[in-house]
């Protein structure tokens, strides 16, 4: 199999527009994320960050535009991509053990309908050890703290042995120890040539953690190395009044289109 880490562009987005009913939630996005980087997707609430991840994963249908992973479509590259949804998007009272959640990361390998093999179980044990959840392996998931829940999600993604990791706010509501542990895991992945794309909220840590930044607010504000694009001026355009105006207008359009105003 060809080595994907040699391919220079991991994610390529061209003229991507996503509508919710008649309003654009993402508008004419075009940018590239280089292979082997840790990339932050940054923007205010409602800027379409989660929508962006879901769209490039094929969970939402774009109105127009194209997304490529290593030059191929999502359908061909599905097994190379791991997705970590927001922690709050699932029901943590669900009757399932820590081990079984992690095992979901092996589904593409074990062909969904088959039983787990010894190799699958070993892999799960190894990764749970890595994220420090071994003592919780047989516990029900609602006994985990917020940080532990996030580590479990990361463990599941690690088990997918992907080349691109798309994560929706992996640091939201986790303790400092977990954040540090996750960062060291992410660094290891990067050293193996993997590409990480994280929806991120904490602006103060952007320059420490990331070597690529995408500033997003419905449209693309900037994309590039933090030193070049993570400027006060760009942040102003992402979070400031001008984008606020766009937000207001898009709400207005939405209301007009659906006949609410």
């Amino acid at each position: 199999m060809r080595d994907l880490s040699a391919f220079p562009v991991a994610v390529k987005v061209e003229h991507l527009t996503v509508n919710y009913e008649k309003t654009s939630v993402l508008w004419e996005l075009s940018f590239e994320i280089p292979t082997g980087t840790m990339c932050a997707i940054i923007g205010p609430n409602g800027a379409g960050k989660s929508t962006f991840l879901k769209t490039i994963l094929g969970l939402l249908k774009p109105l127009s535009g194209k997304v490529e992973f290593f030059g191929k479509s999502i359908k061909e590259m599905r097994s190379k991509i791991a997705y970590v949804p927001q922690r709050a998007s699932v029901d943590w009272d669900f009757p399932i053990t820590v081990f079984d959640v992690a095992l979901m990361g092996r589904f593409h390998k074990m062909k969904l309908f088959k039983r787990a093999k010894a190799a699958d179980r070993e892999a799960v044990k190894r990764v749970l050890e890595m994220v420090g959840l071994t003592p919780f392996s047989d516990r029900q998931i609602n006994q985990l703290s917020g940080g532990q829940q996030q580590r479990l999600f990361i463990a599941r993604a690690l088990l997918q042995e992907a080349d691109i990791y798309l994560m929706d706010e992996p640091f939201a509501g986790v303790d400092v120890a977990t954040e540090k542990a996750l960062i060291s895991i992410f660094d290891q992945l990067k050293m193996q040539g993997k590409t990480l794309v994280l929806v991120h909220h904490d602006l103060s840590s952007v320059e420490d953690y990331f070597d690529w930044v995408v500033l997003l607010n419905i449209g693309l504000i900037a994309s590039g190395k933090p030193a070049e694009v993570f400027t006060p001026e760009a942040l102003m355009r992402t979070y400031g009044r001008s984008s606020h105006l766009l937000d207001e207008v898009s709400k207005l359009v939405k209301h007009k289109a659906s006949g609410l105003l």
Binding site: R78, P85, P95, I96, F107, L112, F113
Partner: protein, 441 residues
């Protein structure tokens, strides 16, 4: 009086018994999926939404094929199925396009469809009064008049559901827990969701014949609630829910026939449907009471055993503070706010377990083990006081109360952590010595 086996062999009893058991199995399995997806109320809305379909089905058969009684059941099934599907679609539409919240949409569809059904039914009462009886059956269910045909229908549905669950257990579990992740690895989530919805509608449509529109949702959910109290695994939850449901199905039939006989009340007629549901609810109630983790009983046991431990350790502490001198019963009893009868019991147990030893008539003394255990309690107490004063900046005069509680709670791991954090202090904030680790081992 029918024997136990008659319920499975007798041509008249067999159909309702086996039919109910199979129906309960099918609906409990599909209901358990809805339950873990937190969509319990969907069953309630859809069973009511099926009602106008039942009415129209009867009307259709009555008008066009009044001579063909066999067609009636089919006509009702088809009517109910489409009516429930329409209800499902309206719920989706309300939520998606009109931003009506889930519970409001369910509520609206439930009352709208049910109201519509009642409206048409009450008209039929006068125009087709013979057929009206057929409609009434579906309101509260009537298992007693079921035939072998029903067994066949329920058996097929039950087998289909069992087969699909066996084959697609993993994807169903994954979708129920984390839909987006499952879709991201390439599982066709919408197809599975549609299959689950259709099976839910089907099990409701065939189930209302025996338990009725009004009670149907209980049959979907009750076994799952009962099962959830015993397990944290989805697979075991499904098995337990199925088992509870099958038992309810049988017991409902059995009891509705036997209770009037047992109590010599030949005029008492207990309808099967409600009886099945009551049995299922009884399983629920028992499970909630005896659940090993959250059950009332096990919680009481844990509370009592904690209180017991606190009493024991406090008594040991009293001995420890007196040093080597033995204490008489009166001296001990005066120090603790414990009734005398309980004190006798506690001292008896402490002696039996080897913490204290009887040295004379009504006098007791700590054993070496007892001394160590008491020292540990005192150590925890004083460590906690140091922690509160040094680290949380509380006043030394106010920390005793909290320490009285914590001395019984702190685990050896926390003790080690505290001791490391505080650098193994020798004195508590009241300048009392803290027993060293060596004294405890």
């Amino acid at each position: 009086m029918p024997s136990f086996l008659d319920f499975f062999l007798d041509p008249i009893l067999r159909a309702p018994t086996l039919g109910s058991m199979l129906m309960c199995l099918a609906s409990s399995l599909i209901g358990a999926i809805a339950f873990v997806q937190r969509r319990s109320l969907l069953g309630e809305a859809l069973s009511h939404a099926a009602y106008p379909g039942v009415v129209l089905g009867v009307l259709f058969a009555a008008v066009f094929f009044p001579e063909w009684e066999e067609l009636l059941a089919l006509s009702i099934l088809i009517g109910a199925f489409f009516s429930a599907c329409l209800g499902l679609w309206v719920i989706h539409k309300l939520q998606r396009s009109y931003r009506v919240s889930n519970d409001a949409a369910l509520c609206l569809v439930l009352s709208l469809f049910f109201g519509l059904g009642i409206l048409i039914a009450s008209r039929l009462q006068f125009t087709h009064s013979l057929w009206y009886k057929q409609i009434q059956i579906f309101l509260y269910g009537q298992a007693a008049t079921m035939t072998d045909v029903h067994i066949g229908i329920y058996a097929i549905l039950g087998l289909v559901i069992l087969f699909l669950l066996y084959l697609f257990y993993r994807p169903i579990q994954a979708i129920s827990f984390d839909k987006y992740f499952t879709e991201s690895i390439g599982v066709q989530v919408p197809i599975f969701e549609s299959i689950i919805s259709i099976l839910l509608v089907l099990s409701i449509v065939v189930g209302i014949r025996s338990v009725g529109v009004v009670l149907m949702s209980g049959m979907l959910i009750a076994p799952a609630i009962a099962a959830r109290q015993w397990t944290h695994k989805f697979s075991i939850l499904l098995i337990l829910a199925g088992a509870f449901a099958v038992c309810s199905g049988f017991l409902g039939n059995y009891l509705s026939l036997q209770i009037p006989i047992w109590f010599h009340l030949p005029n008492l007629s207990l309808p099967t449907g409600p009886m099945i549901l009551l049995t299922a609810s009884f399983f629920c109630f028992i499970s909630l009471l005896f659940s090993p983790e959250t059950g009332l009983i096990s919680r009481c046991v844990r509370m009592i055993s904690f209180r017991d431990r606190r009493y024991q350790e406090n008594i040991l502490k009293s001995f420890w503070k007196k040093g080597e001198t033995p204490l008489t019963f009166r001296e001990i009893a005066n120090r603790e706010a414990i009734p005398h009868w309980l004190m006798h019991f506690l001292l008896y147990r402490l002696t039996a377990q080897g913490w204290i030893v009887k040295t004379g008539k009504r006098t007791f003394q700590l054993t070496l083990d007892g001394h160590q255990r008491a020292a540990r309690v005192v150590r925890l107490h004083r460590l906690w006081e140091v922690y509160l004063v040094d680290y949380l900046g509380q006043h030394a005069g106010k920390v005793h109360r909290s320490a009285e509680e914590m001395e019984h709670i702190l685990s050896p791991e926390l003790e080690k952590e505290l001791s490391e954090l505080l650098k193994d202090p020798k004195q508590d904030p009241h300048s009392q010595p803290i027993p060293s680790i060596k004294e405890i081992l």
